[in-house]
């Protein structure tokens, strides 16, 4: 009885001012019974005293000892008094304080809580963030004290949340109500799970608080759902921009020359391996500028893929104009050769391409919605490439020739357009754009010999839906298919979504066999 009173007094006292640690309490850390030890740890935590931090840390490190009635911290052959921190003589036979797993867990959360009082702002912030997921009702007074002392607004906001969480178990319904109201403003899944028990009669006897909790959970849910949808639309946009990078090149080659290039996915692969090559080069020769390897890879990938494209066109495709089905088979053969070449040159395993430091991380919009920088940059990059292609096709002489050949090949030839050279240039351009797509892909997916295969069906779908020879069609189809499939994915799972998209496309071209944007005019077969 006396002991409880004593503890109570000490507890009250510790809240008020910087009282020195109570030796009895420190001794209690060495008690036989674990429950008593836990009680002592909690009480020491409440003092929020730097000395308490030292003692608890020592206990966690197994360097807290008891000699007679004195608690000592022994490090090697030096001993200090646990309470005062002053060096003392090494005692004859100190008795170590045993720590089991339960105590260890208790110690680590106590030390984490005490970090709230650290003088370093960063440490306090980290500790407050860590606390969010493990608030217990006992922490309420401690949090109140930390809140009182805190000056940084960001940490203060975090502590307010934690304090509200701790207050949910308060005996006073008014305090609980206030806490629930406070928490309703947040949008984090953890807070929702904390609030959930309060929505049932067993967890919350007071009606008012319960209704408030139900409303709060609803509010959080709707915010979470919105964030999820925004996230899905964003990843759809990001998928769409990847599809666009794949399909832009196809739209040019198929549109202009009527060539189905089955090796287009492998041109993406060439671009991705070129990126990998630049990364290796920078690592070996310019390690200080390693973050710049990616911008440097853009032209390299473009020209590497374009070169492969020119080779393809000059050696194989040139001889097959007008025989589209044969071109399809021959380019498939080229794709097999390219895949196997990559295997021989770089090995069958995926190679590692890492994001430059300025691409890692992201913008956190809500606790469950993070927009990664690499995706944002890729969307921007796709827009940039699209702009480039648009300028090239609409504002340059080459673009004019390409469009002329697309619309009427013999007539273009008659007025002096070198159609065969334009074919090569257009094919190289399409291949180069695929190479740019490869640069983007290398930042978000694996780089390996088979990487192109996964994109070829999707890219063709974009071209089929978009319509032949139309940049606008490819853009709308790519973004539309990207967002549509990501939204379906959230609703039906990845595989079913993919199947549904394919079924949708088959149904779509029933209605519009020429794609969204058909070339106006009549065709003679």
């Amino acid at each position: 009885m006396t002991k409880t009173i004593l503890v109570f007094l000490l507890f009250a006292g510790s809240l008020s001012a910087q009282a020195a640690l109570d030796p009895a309490q420190v001794r209690q850390l060495a008690a036989e019974d674990s429950t008593e030890k836990v009680a002592a740890i909690r009480q020491l935590t409440q003092t929020a005293d730097p000395d308490a931090v030292r003692v608890l840390k020592a206990m966690a490190d197994d360097s807290l000892f008891l000699a007679g009635d004195k608690a000592l911290i022994i490090d090697g052959d030096k001993a200090v008094d646990a309470i005062t921190g002053k060096p003392v003589n090494m005692p004859a036979n100190p008795e170590s304080v045993t720590v089991n797993n339960r105590i260890r867990g208790e110690l680590s959360s106590a030390l984490a809580a005490l970090k709230l009082f650290d003088s370093d702002l960063a440490v306090r912030l980290a500790s407050a963030q860590k606390l969010q997921s493990q608030v217990t009702p006992e922490m309420a007074p401690l949090l109140a004290r930390a809140l009182e002392k805190e000056i940084d607004p960001q940490i203060k906001a975090l502590l307010t949340l934690a304090y509200a969480q701790a207050n949910l178990k308060n005996a006073d319904p008014a305090a609980r109500l206030a806490a629930v109201k406070e928490l309703a403003e947040t949008s984090s899944p953890t807070i929702k799970s904390v609030l959930l028990p309060l929505t049932e009669k067993a967890g919350e006897p007071d009606d008012k608080v319960r209704y408030e909790a139900i409303a709060a959970v609803k509010a959080i849910d709707s915010r979470l759902a919105m964030a999820e949808n925004v996230g899905r639309a964003f990843s759809g946009l990001s998928l769409g921009s990847i599809l666009l990078l794949g399909a832009l090149g196809l739209a040019i080659t198929y549109g202009v020359m009527g060539i189905i290039n089955m090796a287009h996915g492998e041109l993406l692969m060439v671009g991705a391996y070129a990126t990998y090559g630049m990364q290796t080069l920078f690592r070996a020769y310019f390690p200080n500028a390693i973050d710049w390897y990616l911008p440097a890879a853009i032209p390299v990938a473009f020209f590497a893929a374009a070169l492969v494209g020119v080779l393809m066109e000059r050696t194989v495709i040139r001889w097959l104009y007008g025989r589209t089905l044969e071109t399809l088979l021959a380019t498939w053969g080229i794709s097999l050769v390219l895949i196997q070449s990559a295997r021989v040159l770089f090995g069958a395993q995926n190679v590692e391409v890492s994001n430059p430091s300025w691409m890692s991380g992201g913008i956190e919009i809500m606790p469950n919605l993070m927009l990664p920088w690499n995706r944002i940059i890729i969307i921007g990059f796709a827009m940039f490439v699209l702009f480039l292609v648009w300028v090239l096709m609409n504002k340059t002489r080459l673009g004019m020739f390409v469009r002329a050949v697309t619309q009427n090949r013999p007539m273009a030839g008659c007025v002096g357009v070198p159609t065969s050279r334009i074919d090569t240039m257009a094919f190289a351009l399409g291949a180069g754009i695929a190479g740019l797509g490869g640069v983007a892909l290398s930042q978000i997916s694996n780089v390996g010999p088979d990487m192109g295969q996964g994109y070829i069906v999707d890219s063709f779908m974009v071209v089929v839906v978009g319509g032949v020879g139309q940049l606008a069609g490819a853009v709308w189809a790519a973004l539309g298919l990207g967002i549509f499939s990501k939204l379906l994915e959230g609703w039906a799972g990845a595989v079913v979504a993919k199947i549904l998209v394919l079924v949708f496309i088959i149904a779509f071209i029933q209605k519009r066999p020429q794609g969204i944007f058909a070339l106006k005019g009549r065709f003679v077969e």
Binding site: T327, A330, I339, V457, M461, I506
Partner: protein, 370 residues
């Protein structure tokens, strides 16, 4: 005046071809079994189980190649999704083989092992009747036919053709592959069907069962070849060829290309289904990778190598390419894709008529110089 059917069928092949077909059947039905059963394994005349399985497998592929030739060589429609029909036939028949395992699976359950693994308590509805040989044999034909009909009707009706059609068929088989990869689809997911034990109660790995299946495949191949030869020489076949060469003109003359295309498309799919059903018991496994776009496009190269629109060419092509594949994958596995890729390129560039065309050219030269 139409000649009786027997005459018309007989006249679909010339005498030389009938003799060749007879020799082929005699080899498959008499010589191979005798050599396999009556000579010890170390004898030079012995035909190993490996060889029988390999040839049996390639004959199934040859069936697919003939089906592909009907649609591509005569119909002018390049399908990149024929692997789907092949796999559907295989899966349909595989269901029966899975049921024949009975309680001999790892879990000693009435259900196939993969269902026990998924903790399913009873067979899903589409497995009903899968223990009956007749029903499953029907399914192996009907399933590809129905899928082909529905898909073909919508595709041909809206006059999707050329590369568009090819790409859509590729997407179709790709979608089906993704579907079959899922465990919940109810066809064994990734692993597909394997570890078969019996067929009609006979042990599936015994020499006799193998020989019967081998002979059956050979007969099927011969029958299909004769049927196809008759078909393409009939009026139907001629209209089909006309559609291939000038669809608009045929339409203006008054034919509706839809039904011609659809008929040959469904026939082609059914032949693939039969090939798949014969393939599964001989090879002992069927899994979704059979539906991968790469597999289907390989079928096209068999036909192209042999020679389109010749019926015998695709069979030769299937044998040449697949024998080369078996040899390469054992001796130089890393060069197989180079070889296959170059084959695609060279055949399309240099041999538009395939091996049969090359042979004819050589014969013509010889005839001219003599």
């Amino acid at each position: 005046m139409r000649k009786p059917l027997t005459i018309r069928i007989l006249s679909s092949l010339d005498t030389k071809s009938w003799i060749a077909l007879g020799i082929f059947l005699a080899l498959a039905l008499v010589v191979v079994p005798v050599l396999h059963l009556n000579f010890p394994e170390d004898s030079a005349f012995h035909i190993s189980t490996y060889a029988i399985t390999l040839i049996g497998k390639i004959m199934c592929y040859a069936l697919v190649a003939v089906a592909m030739d009907l649609i591509w060589g005569y119909g002018g429609i390049l399908s990149l999704g024929h692997g789907l029909f092949f796999a559907l036939g295989g899966y349909a028949f595989g269901m029966y083989l899975m049921r024949q395992i009975g309680r001999d699976g790892s879990y000693q359950s009435d259900l196939p092992d993969f269902m026990v693994f998924l903790d399913w308590k009873e067979l899903p509805w589409f497995w009903v009747g899968s223990d009956s040989f007749g029903w499953v044999a029907f399914l192996a034909l009907a399933l590809p036919a129905v899928v082909a009909f529905v898909f073909g009707y919508f595709a041909f009706r809206s006059r999707i053709k050329g590369v568009y059609f090819s790409i859509i068929t590729q997407a179709l088989t790709y979608a089906a592959m993704l579907l079959f990869f899922r465990n919940e689809t109810g066809f064994g997911g990734n692993n597909g069907f394997t570890d078969f034990k019996r067929i009609l109660g006979y042990p599936i790995t015994s020499s006799e069962t193998r020989l019967v299946l081998f002979g059956l495949t050979a007969v099927m191949l011969a029958v299909t070849l004769v049927f196809a030869a008759w078909l393409v020489k009939s009026k139907f076949g001629r209209v089909l060829t006309a559609i291939r060469d000038a669809e608009s003109r045929v339409m203006f003359i008054g034919y509706n290309p839809l039904w011609y295309k659809l008929t040959i498309w469904v026939i082609s799919a059914v032949i693939c289904g039969i090939a798949g059903a014969l393939y599964v018991p001989q090879v002992g496994i069927i899994n979704p990778s059979e539906m991968s776009p790469g597999n289907s496009i390989e079928i096209a190269i068999w036909v192209a190598v042999g020679g389109r629109g010749t019926l015998i060419g695709p069979i030769i092509g299937a044998f040449v390419v697949n024998l080369a594949k078996s040899w390469f994958t054992v001796s130089f596995p890393e060069y197989w894709l180079f070889f296959l890729g170059l084959l695609f390129i060279i055949v399309t560039l240099m041999l538009p008529q395939g091996l049969v065309g090359l042979w004819k050219k050589l014969m013509d030269k010889k005839g001219a110089s003599a």
